[in-house]
């Protein structure tokens, strides 16, 4: 028997690897594909016996935006967008500022603060949920459109705890750059905004992304704080309601359409910022 040539072995290996990858990719994409197909499905109801819909339609999307008396999806979408954008800006600012201070300044509470943040970070956020609700109620933020403010505070209030990644990134920027700027007469704020941030684009992008997605997909805090105020519902609560027994038969395909719609902003953000995201955990100063 003739031994296989190197070329042949490589071919066989490649085939095996690609088949395995294709299977894995199919498994991974399958649920996403299914949701997208369901969102275009013309047959009603929550259960179908075929994988591919028998007929396709855009009505599910139209219904989401026109049939607003029962579940006002456009309003929920706007609520969520406002909350997510505001808390994204606020928490990005908080988180980057805290990280910068901890990286560049030396003060007495620095170490204790970092230890405390580390320990607090070990507890899941929703443990404090009921307490947070009663504090917000005492301050009067649980009624009407103030609920939005309450939710923004909830989502961005804890931002300063998650400084570790950004601080680590800032640490890699040589302090000599800061000193050079100081010699030229920069204040701390100017160093932060004019030098450190431009050098740290990847981590800024990473922070923006994560702090947008948090409030965008959150269900549990929104549910506890919104309670019966239907006009303040976020998309997550709206989608959950569509699956309740009274709605599921009529709203199931719309639920899928809603799920596709809320993934669009995130997908766009990711596509646009992908290259920074990948760079997010590597060093700052290159060349």
């Amino acid at each position: 028997m003739k031994p296989k040539s190197a070329k042949q072995t490589k071919l066989v290996n490649n085939i095996i690897v690609h088949v395995v990858l294709a299977v894995l990719a199919a498994v991974w994409v399958f649920p996403v594909l299914w949701v997208i197909m369901t969102s275009f499905r013309a047959e009603k109801g929550s259960y179908v016996s075929t994988f591919f819909p028998k007929a396709f339609t855009l009505d599910n999307y139209a219904k989401l935006f026109t049939d607003t008396t029962l579940l006002n999806f456009p309003k929920m979408f706007m609520n969520t967008l406002i909350i997510a954008v505001c808390s994204c800006l606020l928490s990005t600012f908080l988180l980057l500022s805290v990280s910068y201070c901890l990286s560049r300044m030396r003060f007495r509470m620095r170490k204790p603060y970092m230890n405390m943040a580390m320990i607090l970070g070990l507890f899941p956020g929703f443990m404090s949920m009921i307490a947070v609700y009663f504090i917000l109620k005492a301050v009067g933020l649980t009624e009407g459109s103030l609920i939005r403010v309450a939710l923004i505070l909830c989502y961005s209030g804890g931002a300063a705890i998650g400084f570790q990644v950004a601080k680590g990134f800032f640490d890699t920027t040589p302090y000599a750059i800061d000193e050079a700027a100081m010699l030229d007469g920069c204040t701390r704020w100017q160093i932060f905004t004019k030098i450190t941030l431009p050098l740290s684009k990847p981590i800024v992008i990473y922070t923006v992304l994560t702090s947008f997605i948090g409030p965008w997909v959150d269900f549990i805090f929104a549910k506890v704080i919104c309670r019966a105020n239907a006009d303040q519902y976020t998309v997550a609560i709206g989608l959950w309601r569509m699956l309740e027994k009274e709605y599921i038969d009529n709203w199931y395909t719309c639920f899928a359409a809603g799920a596709v719609l809320i993934s669009i902003p995130i997908a766009l953000l990711f596509l646009k910022l992908q290259k920074y995201y990948v760079n997010g955990t590597s060093g700052a100063v290159k060349g």
Binding site: E43, K44, G45, S46, Y47, V48, S49, D67, T69, L70, L71, I130, Y133, F134, K137, A138, V139, G140, T142, E143, V224, R227, A228, N229, A230, E244, K245, E246, I248, D249, N250, Y252
Partner: protein
């Protein structure tokens, strides 16, 4: 110098506390103007379904010129109202609609006002006794019932005759029947049929569940055979409705919430009936559904108790029930209203009332009831999966009963 940060923190704390206190106590009410917060399902408030709640509240305000009423509406359907209200009764609606199986959730949170005196008499005058009992705890009335809440059978008239639907066995010979076998709100129907009980008459918590005797084992054996019948299909995740839609299934078990969808599928061929009997060892046994009610409740923390109770009684009155039926087909419970010609002729109303009167058991609302759901669901799943068979039916039934009577997670 050293104390400055502490002093500053103390000042900040004081300012926060002050803010909190003023936030709580603001807005003393004018003696004449009354603000009532009312919660109900979003369908009750949607323009497309006629704004039942707003219409009723406006009518109520017109009846009471002595009060300057303002209403604040919120969305909480009957099934979830109890958990939302008990989370924080103080910041919840004065008047809300709830399902009676959550009664103890609300009373444990001390969130439900007792209705007494002339109001209780008025409620009793237009409500059947069984329905009054469904919202009565320790002799106190806790709400104004406005509809019954149970499940029954929808079938295709082209497949089954009115005689067939009396008996499950006759139906299984003629067509495909789908039953939510793995849902513990439905499965006990067979066990109740053979004399199993939950908490005695439903209120005797100390008696516990009796789902483990010889009679229960017989039912488990019967269910193992039933699942093997090719004409018997398990309804899960909406498969029953889908089968009805594509014609592969001819009868399903569900409640009034699906009646509009089924009407759309079957049109004039839609038949509705109370639960059938099934034959066990040669004897006909009746299936029994869990039955409950939906009621209007009043928050015990309401600042305007008189107005709140009056509104609750109005929302449960014949007039409001009539409107609810016309706008949303919510089945009325008012005894006089039930005799109205169009209501008395509605097949869904007939079936639901027939089920409530004849083929249902009042769903117990004692606290221990919460231990009973998962074991029954697991039994349904085990039979479907084939892990419970004739060989181990006795053993499995007893362990289900043990789990139903146990408080712990075991």
């Amino acid at each position: 110098m050293k104390h400055r940060p502490t002093r500053f923190a103390a000042l900040l704390l004081a300012a926060l506390l002050l803010l909190g206190i003023t936030g709580c106590g603001g807005g003393a009410a004018d003696s004449e103007s009354i603000r009532l917060m009312v919660w109900s399902a979003s369908e009750d408030q949607a323009k497309d379904s006629g704004e039942w709640l707003q219409t009723c509240c406006a009518a109520f305000a017109a009846q009471h010129p002595e009060w300057n009423l303002t209403f604040v509406y919120g969305v909480a359907d009957e099934a979830t109202a109890a958990s939302t209200v008990s989370q924080d009764p103080e910041a919840s609606a004065d008047v809300f609609l709830y399902a009676n199986d959550n009664l103890t959730v609300l009373t444990d949170a001390k969130a439900l006002a007792k209705i007494g005196g002339k109001y209780a008499d008025e409620v009793r005058s237009f409500t059947s006794e069984a329905l009054v009992d469904s919202v009565t705890l320790d002799g106190y009335l806790y709400g104004v019932p406005f509809t019954t809440n149970t499940w029954y059978m929808y079938y295709d008239k082209r497949v089954f005759s009115e005689e067939d639907v009396q008996s499950l066995d006759a139906m299984l010979e003629k067509g495909v029947v789908s039953f939510p076998f793995t849902n513990s709100w439905y499965l006990p129907a067979f066990y109740f049929g053979n004399g199993c009980t939950l908490f005695g008459d439903g209120t005797q918590e100390e008696l516990g569940a009796d789902f483990g005797g010889e009679n229960a084992v017989e039912v488990t054996d019967f269910l193992v055979d039933l699942i093997g019948n090719p004409n018997f299909v398990v309804d899960a995740d909406g498969s029953g409705m889908a089968g009805l839609r594509d014609g592969s299934i001819s009868a399903i078990f569900t409640g009034s919430w699906d009646s509009a969808s089924i009407k759309e599928i079957l049109g004039d061929n839609m038949g509705v009936a109370a639960l059938p009997t099934y034959s066990l060892n040669g004897q006909e046994k009746q299936m029994y559904a869990y039955a409950g009610s939906k009621a209007v409740g009043v928050n015990s923390r309401s600042e305007n108790m008189v107005a709140a109770v009056e509104l609750a009684v109005y929302l449960g009155s014949a007039e409001a029930q009539r409107l609810h039926y016309d706008l949303r087909s919510v089945i009325p419970s008012n005894t006089e209203l039930m005799e109205a010609e169009d209501i008395a002729a509605d097949p869904v109303v007939i079936a639901q009332n027939d089920t409530f009167d004849r083929t249902s058991k009042l769903q117990p609302f004692v606290s221990k009831m919460s231990n009973c759901w998962t074991p029954v669901e697991n039994m349904g799943k085990a039979i479907r999966n084939g892990s419970t068979t004739h060989d181990n039916a006795a053993e499995q039934t007893v362990s289900m009963n043990d789990a139903m009577n146990s408080d712990g997670i075991s």
